[in-house]
């Protein structure tokens, strides 16, 4: 006998974003929408074991929630104007149909996600609100995912909703003149959620690792709602390709595995295929962008059966392109690695040279230099660079990996010293 609460929870989580978005449009209030869904949840766990889970759960939940909200307004004897607006949406059979057809030009979820990612909200608030309202995650889950206390997260959400209401943030898809930058903001939020999950360490809460799947889920919704936005599709491709490596990223002893050392048999082929498909679709629109470029880089790794089969020249070229779209010394560092792999370590070192002061506190610059110096048998310099990298490490897994490398170099140095 399946637990009715579990069944209802699963369905509600799945439909939360869609229903919430519509209710906010109808009632113009985040809190009203949230309470209404809560109320309908209580009814669901009561009714569904008897009547069965509805064929169209979203419609059922929306209708039930609307009814409860209107009842709530009646009880509170809210001002006449508000009630007049609401009374025009009387419950009847046609209405269920109407709610879902309503999304003619724009799914309510688009309105919702643009509102959650409005630049007037602090970035932490954008992340929390997106996960709560579109993802349907509970406050407790989001708190655990971002490693803060539940009360902190609850307060964050309260403040964010208050700001939306009090500062006059409109509930809509932004007009054309700011649409491009606002889409970029939304994509940024989704990618931040993904990266938060990607950086989860071994001992972390499961929900933290789940952030990757949640981000992919949100990415799918966005790509569906905005099929003409190649960067939205590119982001989805990128996340799928990164996520495909998740089973290979940690060794059996809990250490991070570099790309070259990963067991490629553990890469998820169906995720790779899906990612590649989306990338092709995005690129067909011929509007390049940073997410498509990063996805293209990931796709080259994904399609190389072994590290030796990697097309490094193409990757170097793509990092060059990425540097135009998203200039940063870290991008240039990655280009240096690709160039080193394609042409030789000395060429990589040349590219890194002007980056050294900017990236002096970035451990991966030092470790990259160390590796390239090692290949050129400049062992003393390589040791120095590894030591610098180890000084900057942030956790024991990194330290152990880099210490191992340092030991190897010092061994070679020792042998060399005897010549």
């Amino acid at each position: 006998m399946t637990d009715p609460t579990e069944v209802a929870e699963k369905v509600f989580r799945e439909e939360y974003g869609r229903v919430f978005a519509t209710l906010v449009r109808v009632f113009g209030d985040f809190d009203v929408a949230e309470e209404a869904i809560q109320d309908s949840f209580l009814i669901a766990i009561d009714r569904w074991p008897v009547s069965g889970v509805p064929q169209k759960p979203a419609a059922w939940i929306t209708t039930t929630a609307k009814r409860k909200a209107i009842d709530g307004y009646r009880r509170e004897k809210v001002r006449v104007e508000k009630y007049a607006v609401l009374s025009s949406t009387r419950s009847n059979g046609h209405e269920e149909h109407e709610i879902l057809e309503e999304s003619t030009l724009q799914d309510d979820r688009l309105r919702l996600i643009f509102t959650c990612c409005h630049p007037a909200l602090a970035i932490d608030a954008q992340l929390a609100l997106t996960l709560r309202t579109l993802g349907g995650l509970k406050t407790r889950e989001i708190a655990r995912a971002f490693l803060v206390a539940e009360s902190t997260m609850a307060q964050r959400l309260v403040r964010a909703k208050r700001k939306i209401r009090d500062a006059g943030i409109p509930y809509r898809v932004p007009p054309d003149d700011v649409l491009t930058e606002r889409i970029a903001a939304v994509l940024g939020v989704i990618y931040l959620i993904f990266n938060e999950g990607y950086s989860a360490s071994e001992g972390d809460d499961l929900v933290r690792h789940d952030l990757c799947s949640e981000a992919i889920r949100l990415g799918r919704v966005l790509a569906d709602l905005m099929p003409d936005e190649p960067e939205a599709i590119g982001l989805l491709a990128l996340m799928l390709l990164h996520d495909s490596r998740k089973d290979a990223r940690i060794s059996s002893t809990g250490e991070p595995m570099l790309l070259d050392d990963q067991d490629r048999q553990l890469w998820d082929r169906s995720q790779i295929d899906e990612g590649l498909r989306h990338l092709v679709i995005a690129e067909r629109q011929r509007i390049p962008g940073k997410y498509q470029t990063q996805a293209a880089i990931a796709s080259i790794h994904a399609q190389a059966g072994t590290p030796e089969q990697t097309d490094w020249s193409r990757i170097a070229m793509l990092y060059g392109m990425l540097g135009q779209q998203n200039p940063s010394p870290v991008v240039e560092l990655n280009r240096a690695v690709a160039v080193a792999m394609a042409l030789g370590p000395e060429y990589g070192l040349e590219i890194i040279e002007p980056l050294r002061s900017d990236l002096d506190r970035y451990r991966w610059m030092h470790s990259t230099r160390a590796e390239l110096l090692r290949r050129l048998e400049r062992f003393e310099e390589a040791s120095d660079a590894y030591r610098r990298a180890i000084n900057l490490t942030e956790n024991s897994a990194e330290r152990s990996l880099l210490s191992k490398r340092l030991a190897e170099v010092e061994n070679s140095q020792g042998r060399d010293g005897l010549r």
């Binding site: 943030i169 409109p170 932004p174 700011v178």
Partner: protein, 97 residues
């Protein structure tokens, strides 16, 4: 200096013709400011702005627009911005009867 003020006057004309401006003024510099606070239960006056900051409040516009996005758009056109200034956008309280 004349050119600077001429730029502001021109902007002021434009904004009043394109946006519903309920009020707007430039303020004299903070050197002309006087702050009143309570001390021991009675108002006390002191020289200077209420907060000593690098940035000085230079003026305000009270506008009536649809939503925050519209207000942000207007804020983005204010001529102090290219000179390194900033504009704070805040809603006026509306009390329901």
């Amino acid at each position: 200096m004349g050119e600077f003020m001429a730029g502001w006057f021109k902007f002021d004309e434009e904004i009043r013709s394109s946006v519903k401006v309920l009020a707007g003024d430039g303020l004299e510099p903070t050197s002309t400011a006087t702050t009143v606070r309570y001390k021991d239960g009675a108002p006390v006056t002191s020289d200077g702005p209420f907060a000593e900051t690098k940035e000085q409040l230079g003026g305000y516009y009270l506008i009536d627009v649809e939503n925050l996005d519209e207000a942000i758009k207007v804020a983005g056109t204010i001529p102090n911005l290219p000179m390194g200034g900033s504009v704070e956008v805040r809603p006026v309280q509306v009390f329901e009867q």
